[in-house]
Every structure is written in structure tokens, then in C-alpha cells.
């Protein structure tokens, strides 16, 4: 490994200087770094530096059985693991010609939306914190935890659910679960106005977040921005609606947008998506009892399961944007190649670099959090 990393920096005598922003820095989401060149407080140039969370997932997956990888994939994006599982499972079903039973699909939607809410609560809690407002963060985490409790009950794990399996899901809902889901939904709904008072109509936050890290729709498309960040620039695109998977085509929901395209707008879009997610969850709660099992189609013994040769590109809408798996099977019992296209792949590198340039140092953290970039997903 290169020792130069730890050699002294010879700074040219000037009022420009370099600063390493992270990896160990409260203003960085996760374990990630940004090297910024500063002129006073102005960021002249920024360069993302990743790999601190690199585990070589794609390599690992080539060495494990199709099913074993299910334990691996959620780890790719820690705050929002559910889409990873679902996307991978759906991909395998696609290659293997399996059909997940309807009930399983609804359960997956339930899992996805709860996970999305958890992730969004996390995100705007974090964003608020970067502007020095800690209460929303405290509230956000506390409320997110109620959702984690639901996960624990449904899937046996708070954060890593490992709930999906090719062909369906691993467990049916426990007794009285849907009622508890409803009550949590009611509670979070009742909290929304508090969040508005505390954050979105709070002038401190508004003034702090508006106009920061602005990108217009044109740039967003050029830079390959997706998800809430894209919707914050006024383009209503959502994989759930426009490239439907599972049973999303049977579900009513809107795709909220904002025009401003700045940090405030991005976070606000997430705030609005909370409402949509609650709507979706309520529909699931309503429909689920009338949908009979099973929750999994028969699958072969995992130890002896060859998937037919083939390839698939499956996309889902994660809380951070477009998540895609490109899976190639050569007819073996292990994947031949899995390529994970995390939404943050674009957000955390090119977009972040571009937005940071010209911003003020104190806003860099805010920009990163408002992009809701997820380093583990970039590093993989």
C-alpha cells in the first residue's frame, strides 16, 4: 500500500488551501471523504474519495450460492436495505422463471415502503442536524425506531431483514401485525405537522437550506440524477410508476415533485413521499387480508440449485433513487456476475463534486445529506 498518503502536504504560500473533509467527520454521511480546495470559506474545487467502505460485494457474490447472497445484499445500503433484497430476489425470479405469489408481492411492497419511510426519516433528521438543528434528528430517529420495531416483528431483524427469498418471502405476518402497522402509521402521520413546524416552515432551516446546492432539471438529467433528487427539480419520474414492478401498478400513489432543485426542495420531496408511503402502506394493510397465501413458490434445495443461463437488469425505486441489479447466470449454482447500480453511485461522486464547487464550506455537509448519498452503496 502507498505510504505517500501520510507524507506531509507542502502547501503553496497562498490563501488557497486543501482540506480533507472526512472520512472521520460529523458532517459526512457514513465513512466517506471529500477533498476540498478552499479560498476562504469558498469551495473552489472538490474531489470525492471513496472506498472506505469497500468490501468487494460483487466479487463475494460470485463465490456464494444464489441463496447465500441474500444475507449479503442488504449490507450494500445500510440505511435502506429492503430494496436490495427485493431487487436481487426479483432478478433471480426473472432469470429462473419463478413467479412470486401475489401475497408475497404485497408483503414485499409493505417492506419496501416501511423501509423507505425509515430511510427518509433518517435522511431529513440528518439534514437538519447538518444545519445545527438537532431536535428533528432526535425525533426522526425516535420515530424511525418504531418502524424498526415493526421490522423486527415481521422479519426477525431490526435493520437487516433478510426477509426476501427468491420466489417470495420467508415469513407471513404475525398475529395482529397489521393493526400495529396502522397505529404506527397514524402516529407518524400525526407527527408530520410537528416536523413542518419544527423544520419545513422553520425560517432558520428554510433560510439555511434554500438555494443551497441548487441543480436545475437540465443538469439533473445530464448528471444522471434519479429519485427524490430528480423529482426535486420538477421531473415526476418514479420507477414504481413508470417501470412498475411487484404490484405497484395496482396501487394508488402520487409522485410528489418540487421545482426549486435545492437542498430544501430535496428534503421536502422526501417529506412528501412519507405521506405517499403511508398511503401505500394503508392500501397494503387493507388488501392483504383478502389475498390468500402461499407466500413463496416452491424452490429447489439451495445447496443444489442451478439457475438457467441468462441475464437480467432489474430496477427498483429505493429511497435514494434508481437502484438496479444486473445479474448474469452461466447456468451455475452461483452468480456469474452481479453488478449493483446504486443510486448514490452518481449522486455521491460527480453530482456532489459539482454541487460542492462554489458552495460555502459549511454547506458541503448539508449538500451531501440533502442528496441522501449512501457511501456503502457507492463503495460496495
Amino acid at each position: 500500500m502507498r505510504a505517500e498518503n501520510y507524507e506531509a502536504v507542502r502547501q503553496p504560500p497562498s490563501n488557497e488551501y486543501e482540506l480533507n473533509f472526512g472520512p472521520n467527520h460529523p458532517g459526512i454521511e457514513g465513512n466517506y471523504a471529500l477533498k476540498v480546495k478552499l479560498h476562504g470559506d469558498q469551495v473552489v474545487a472538490a474531489r470525492a474519495d471513496g472506498g472506505y467502505l469497500h468490501r468487494g460485494f460483487e466479487k463475494l457474490m460470485e463465490g456464494r450460492l444464489w441463496i447465500q447472497n441474500l444475507a449479503l445484499v442488504p449490507r450494500i445500503c445500510v440505511p435502506d436495505p429492503a430494496p436490495m433484497e427485493v431487487c436481487y430476489s426479483v432478478g433471480i425470479e426473472d432469470i429462473g422463471g419463478l413467479e412470486a405469489p401475489e401475497r408475497a408481492q404485497w408483503l414485499r411492497v409493505l417492506q419496501l415502503e416501511l423501509s423507505r419511510m425509515a430511510s427518509h426519516l433518517f435522511a431529513f433528521g440528518g439534514h437538519a442536524a447538518t444545519t445545527g438543528m438537532y431536535s428533528p434528528m432526535f425525533w426522526g430517529f425516535a420515530d424511525r425506531d418504531l418502524i424498526l420495531d415493526l421490522f423486527e416483528e415481521l422479519t426477525g431483524g431490526r435493520v437487516y431483514h433478510i426477509y426476501n427469498i427468491p420466489g417470495g418471502v420467508r415469513r407471513d405476518i404475525p398475529e395482529g401485525f397489521l393493526d400495529r402497522v396502522t397505529s404506527v402509521m397514524d402516529y407518524i402521520e400525526s407527527r408530520l405537522s410537528d416536523y413542518d413546524n419544527l423544520l419545513f416552515t422553520n425560517q432558520v432551516f428554510v433560510d439555511r437550506a434554500r438555494g443551497v446546492g441548487t441543480l436545475n432539471q437540465q443538469q439533473a438529467l445530464e448528471w444522471g440524477v434519479t429519485g427524490p433528487n430528480l423529482r426535486a427539480t420538477g421531473l415526476a419520474f418514479d420507477v414504481r410508476r413508470d417501470d412498475p414492478y411487484l404490484v405497484y401498478d395496482q396501487i394508488e400513489f402520487d409522485v410528489p415533485t418540487e421545482q426549486a432543485g435545492d437542498a430544501w426542495a430535496r428534503t421536502l420531496v422526501r417529506r412528501k413521499e412519507l405521506v405517499e408511503s403511508i398511503r401505500i402502506v394503508r392500501q397494503v394493510v387493507e388488501r392483504l387480508p383478502s389475498i390468500p397465501g402461499p407466500i413463496r413458490c416452491p424452490i429447489p434445495n439451495p445447496l443444489a440449485w442451478n439457475l438457467p443461463a441468462g441475464e437480467t437488469y432489474t430496477r427498483v425505486e429505493s429511497s435514494k433513487g434508481e437502484l438496479a441489479y444486473y445479474i448474469v447466470s452461466n447456468g451455475g449454482d452461483k452468480p456469474y456476475r452481479v453488478h449493483v447500480r446504486g443510486p448514490s453511485a452518481t449522486h455521491a461522486v460527480q453530482v456532489l463534486e459539482n454541487l460542492a464547487r462554489g458552495s460555502r464550506l459549511e454547506d458541503v455537509a448539508q449538500i451531501m445529506f440533502s442528496l441522501d448519498a449512501c457511501p456503502p452503496e457507492v463503495d460496495r
Partner: protein, 206 residues
């Protein structure tokens, strides 16, 4: 106790809940701290990629003694689920002394908190003093570090001097590996030490 705010891996996701209202670590007087210089606890939250490991070691050395390392999740013990991965370190204790492990993948906030309480107990009873081990067996740790990062590996901190300062330098402090270090070491000037203060690694565009 101040806990260094450095999320090296997955496990970090359970810390915010542990620190905020629901489980509220502050009840125990535990708070996140942004700079290693003022932190008592280095929490290794899961796997450390080799790239991160360098920063972690740097950070650890910058922390002022007495200091305590907690390794949470499976990964810090025996590689965890990334045992096959070329990119992550397997046994944290090869590179720095660990005072406490918390099992789980990842451990729930409750587990983290009871871990913290155990650590406090161990500190009170004087059971937790592995930080001394780093000085006493620096050569051993340095050897493992060099084995992984190459023999040119060096950090801005002069551990041997510190060892002498604490009167902890023993037979294991110096050795072949420290010899190697001295050969390659480039003297560090005040400026870099100051930059080092911020707890961030200083790098050159190559």
C-alpha cells in the same frame, strides 16, 4: 465518556438510535465527540476496509491515553460475513488492542448500551487497560500493520516516544519492525502535526 464519532461500517446505523431519545446513551454520560484528541472511546462499528484501517490506526494513535477500543459486530472479531473479501481486515486485535467486543450483526442499541456499561464497569475495576498493551507490544502491532500496508507505513504519531513518556516501553515496544520504521520514517514538521490534530488524514494528490 466521549465516544469518537467515526462510523467505519454497518454497525454505525444502530448508534444514532442508541444516542438519541429512544435509548439515550447520554443517561450514562456517553456522548459523541468529533475529534479523536478529546475522545476516550474508539468505537469500531463493524468491518474495517484496509483503507479505513489506516485512518483508524491514525485516529487511535491520536487519541490521548487512557483510551478504549470497542469492536462491535462479527466483522471485528473474525472477518464476519466479509471473511472472503480482499478489502477488509479480519482481526481488529491484530492491529490495535481491543477492550471489549459486542456480538451481533449488527448489535441492537440495547446490546451496545449494555456493552458500554460493561466497559465502564471494567474501567472502574481496572480490568480494561489494553491501551497500555499498544505501547508495551508496539512492535507486534506495528509488524502486523507493516505486513498489511507495506514496510514504508508510518503515522504522524511517535508512539515510541509516548511509550517512554508513559513509562510503558518494555521489551516488546521496540523491535525489528520499529527498526524498519525508523529507516523509512520521514520527520514530520509542526504544520503537519497541527493538521493531524483535526483527526483527518492529510493526503497529497498523486
Amino acid at each position: 465518556m466521549f465516544m469518537l464519532h467515526y462510523c467505519t461500517g454497518c454497525g454505525a446505523i444502530e448508534l444514532p438510535p442508541a444516542m438519541t431519545s429512544r435509548f439515550d446513551m447520554e443517561r450514562l454520560g456517553i456522548q459523541p465527540m468529533v475529534t479523536p484528541r478529546q475522545a476516550d472511546i474508539l468505537l469500531i462499528t463493524g468491518y474495517v476496509s484496509i483503507k479505513t484501517l489506516k485512518r483508524v490506526i491514525l485516529t487511535y494513535e491520536q487519541m490521548s491515553s487512557p483510551k478504549y477500543v470497542i469492536g462491535i459486530c462479527s466483522c471485528t472479531v473474525n472477518g464476519g460475513m466479509y471473511w472472503q473479501s480482499y478489502a477488509t481486515a479480519k482481526k481488529l486485535s491484530d492491529y490495535m488492542p481491543v477492550d471489549l467486543y459486542i456480538a451481533g450483526c449488527m448489535p441492537r442499541p440495547e446490546a451496545v448500551i449494555s456493552g458500554m456499561r460493561t466497559l465502564m464497569e471494567n474501567i472502574r475495576s481496572g480490568k480494561a487497560d489494553n491501551w497500555k498493551d499498544y505501547y508495551q507490544r508496539y512492535d507486534h502491532y506495528l509488524g502486523n500493520q507493516q505486513g498489511l500496508f507495506g514496510e514504508k507505513w508510518q503515522t504522524p504519531t511517535d508512539v515510541i516516544a509516548e511509550a517512554d513518556h508513559y513509562g510503558l516501553s518494555g521489551p516488546g515496544t521496540r523491535g525489528e519492525h520499529t527498526e524498519l520504521l525508523l529507516q523509512h520514517q520521514k520527520p514530520l514538521e509542526a504544520l503537519e502535526m497541527r493538521l493531524g490534530l483535526s483527526g483527518k488524514t492529510v493526503e497529497v494528490e498523486s
